[in-house]
Symmetry: D2
Subunit: 315 residues, 4 copies
């Protein structure tokens, strides 16, 4: 099994990938940028690909969201989340006043913007395809310093000049493992289903979609809007929902969204990487929301009742 | 085939029953009161029974609604509606000042209350099991006059003393033909489905039920509340919906209600007796309501898509 | 102060009226039937009137609901509920086999229908304007027996032939005290507001009304449909809601319903006669419902914020 | 009047600012980056500031969304939208194979990513604070080429090497003019109101917010999620709504959201820059949505009715 990842080696993405069971025994293939990872999965040159999708500070990773809704379809088979820690690093002996250029991935730049403005106000900031590539550039002398993971300093023989320089401490990034469509992992009871939907641009259509979800007791955990390329004021809504496509409630909700949407893309059902709560969330059992998600047994019972009604049997 | 009806002969119910195709060649059996008709259908002494269920002036007929939710289940196989026209009638030669007692069915009394109060303020009003029975009482001399259908005057040799005496002109009564459970009549594209539901008595549960219906594009055409016998502040909601139990949208809605309700009773799908509109009603295509009712083809397409998603095929 | 009530003396209505503080020192005026009570309040011949509105067995009292939506407006100033207990009574010495006629109010007949059918199958049943009037008829010898309250036997010198004969034990009737419009009683924290609404007959309009109520955290405790006289398939929805017209949430909801409805009739805010729950009902804090009813302080704070926003102040 | 803008001169932002009436006679102050513009408005060193907020290809501009929810508050006083057209430009005589480095703003890079990968696969890509700054860097010889607006070539004496190189033609960017809080521009009948909201992270809370908006007939035209800094799985929802804070419907909706949200930030009401439709959008007049937005007259009428009800007057 070959798994591509946003490379080169020593990226946060590689760190995340190494936490996944799929990485054991697999050949891990660094690729230059998230679009390259998605392309490699699509063309079959790798069996799966790992990319960041969301960060607690920077939000969604737009090229990943936009790449997911391209054809042919891909699905998410797994997710992982790791804390991100940014360091400023340079060749041994580099001093702050000698730094006239600093490189990082766009997210690394964004998350250390304040620190860089304060401590290196005069340095030119260059965007790299990854934080690890930025470290490599520093090692090759193309830039004076890089903002990257501590692992990258080790790997490229760089010295950490300043540690933990993110403007917001405690940032966490969520990564996803993408594959071509195939049977989803079995339900675990604590799963996530990811979708992307477009609708005709009419008042209230988003409310209609969310009602289809809520009325079946499914929790919407995240919503993002991304412009539909080339169409003014139309959006892809990227939706993360609690539950698994094998659940009857989720299946019924997906079929209902499919009938309502201009286009609905199923992006996978997989185990959630955030801890399950000890107790059900408050607010369930509400007017519109179902009284919690009906179980497969509940659905089976109601389907048996309906079948009896339809054939005219006593119920 | 034996069909019971709210008798005796010459009731509005018999008039309604005679408009139904089921009455042709059937033995029509007059029975004393709606509860007797329901009981006869339940115990198999008749194959079907015809009773009034709703009047545009008096509203629902409570004993029929209450009788429908008793066990074992009955279903509505057909409906009819006829205009009701009340006359005051007595033995030939009766004059107004000689009328000290007047009989009618409770609904006849209710719908002519104003006229009776004005023209026969001193007359004692007696409740009969039907308007036709009231006419028979008048013919037997047990009361001086009856409020009944014109047909009853003919049938009992009575003279119409005053015609069209209803306080509200243009009243229409809807009648239903009840049977034991059996396959429903085939969908016609303009059908009604009747339900009765109880829920736990919590804020917003009714809103939840109506949302399950609306989100699937189904129109609620009538709602009645009836107390649940022996339980304080709990109600049976009697719901009339557009559509047929064989429609996928209705089937899904019924199964959803079945999961939400303490008890859901299916009371039949049958052709509507009111004229179909020329054009779809305004308001469809709304935020929460589906964009009209999805057709069986729409459902089939979405089910195929879901099945493909679940087995991991390209979609 | 003169208070009319559904008479004559010894009705359940008089019993209910006597439990209300308004009855102390007032002149209590028995009137023949609920419509007469409403008319007397409307024309000013009494200051208030007491009538039954709902029974846990028989449901709503249609002529009261229909009378409330007539012009000019009336409002409910108070409610009471009492358990109803029906007895069969006759002149002393009456025996069961001598009973060929029995009288009661329509509700008394309805609630003892099963008992009468079993024990007095051959007796003629006559409708009276009240149970107490039925007892008076029995005392005058116009009928052989009456179904009425125990008090009526005492008052008319009748003998109780069979006690507690209701088909469903434990029936409770709710009564209302009506007045011409005037300032409502002060909020108590456990109040009810009663409304009647008609809307254009379009799909989903009822869902729209219920959403206006639920979104403001108001609980709908009862809904009844009554036909709009002379208009086919249009209904008055009679709504009972938790809360008081003086509450900001209720005021905003009423104004919103007023903008949506063809006609909205306010029928009063008054203390609830059912016991307040120890704890808030489950289900509050739901998606659509507000997180409980916002208090007057919450509203005042949000209005101050809005005023600041509108004048361009920092917020 | 001093107006800051995302500089230097010749940015798309300056082009957009010049279309606004506020720019006439004002001193236009180029500032290095959107955060600098927001900071200058906040500290009073300029009276207003112009920044891009949304692009039809790239979506929202995250640092602007994140900067808007910082303290103290800012508001949007105006919006403009212009088509963006990217050119590759270099010093006169530059040829493609001599280009080893190319600079642009992050959005310029993102929107020409495909073109650059195809035509300049080996070139190093550097991020600049603006497209105009990238052109200046090219003029100074710090990079070999820049991706920027045609105007920047003119201004910096550069040669357009390739015109209209965006991967998606027809991209439009929306810009906003920010000020410190103050009275909003007068309503025009075609306005937008922008909000940011956080809620407790519970199932269905987003549905609740959208219902508050829809039930008052207000159209939600855009929704974005941005992580709340330092709080896991919590989001700022950035909402664009049809209508003006001076409208009663919008005012009531804002107050309702204020009561529901952990924090609600009003970000301004201002004329919409997209053309008004000839006819009302379909879908209005739906179950949950009000029958269109109620006008100020509708609100005034319903408030008068409510006031009469509350003081006990006839209505």
């Amino acid at each position: 099994m070959r798994i591509g990842f946003l490379g080169p080696h020593a990226t946060f993405t590689e760190q995340a990938l190494l936490t996944l069971p799929e990485s054991r025994g697999a050949e891990l293939v660094p690729l230059p940028g998230a679009p390259a990872v998605l392309a490699a999965v699509r063309d079959g040159s790798v069996d799966a690909g790992c990319v960041p999708i969301e960060n607690t500070v920077e939000g969604a990773v737009p090229p990943v969201l936009d790449g997911l809704v391209a054809d042919p379809p891909l699905v998410i088979a797994r997710e992982a989340r790791i804390a991100v820690r940014f360091c400023l690093m340079g060749r041994p002996g580099t001093t702050g006043d000698a730094i006239r250029s600093v490189a990082s991935h766009g997210h690394g730049i964004a998350q250390t913007r304040g620190w860089l403005a304060e401590h290196l106000p005069a340095a030119e900031v260059r965007v790299s395809s990854s934080t690890a590539e930025a470290a490599a550039q520093a090692a090759r002398g193309e830039v004076d310093a890089a903002v990257a993971a501590p692992l990258a300093a080790t790997q490229h023989g760089l010295e950490v000049l300043a540690d933990d320089i993110a403007d917001n401490a405690g940032a966490v990034t969520r990564f996803v493992l993408l594959t071509r469509p195939g049977p989803p992992p079995a339900p675990t009871g604590w799963d996530r289903t990811t979708l992307a939907a477009t609708t005709t641009n009419r008042p209230g259509t988003l409310l209609g979609l969310l009602t289809e979800i809520a009325v079946r007791g499914i929790d919407l955990t995240r919503i993002e809007s991304r412009p539909v390329k080339g169409r003014h004021a139309e959006y892809w809504f990227h939706l993360d929902c609690s539950g698994h496509v094998a659940d009857p409630a989720m299946g019924e909700a997906l079929a209902a969204l499919h009938r309502r949407c201009d286009r609905l893309i199923y992006l996978g059902s997989f185990p959630r990487s955030d801890p399950a709560p000890d107790a059900p969330a408050a607010g369930v059992g509400s007017p519109v929301a179902a009284l919690g998600v009906a179980t497969a047994d509940d659905y089976a019972a109601s389907e048996r009742w309906l079948a009896a009604v339809r054939r005219g049997a006593d119920t």
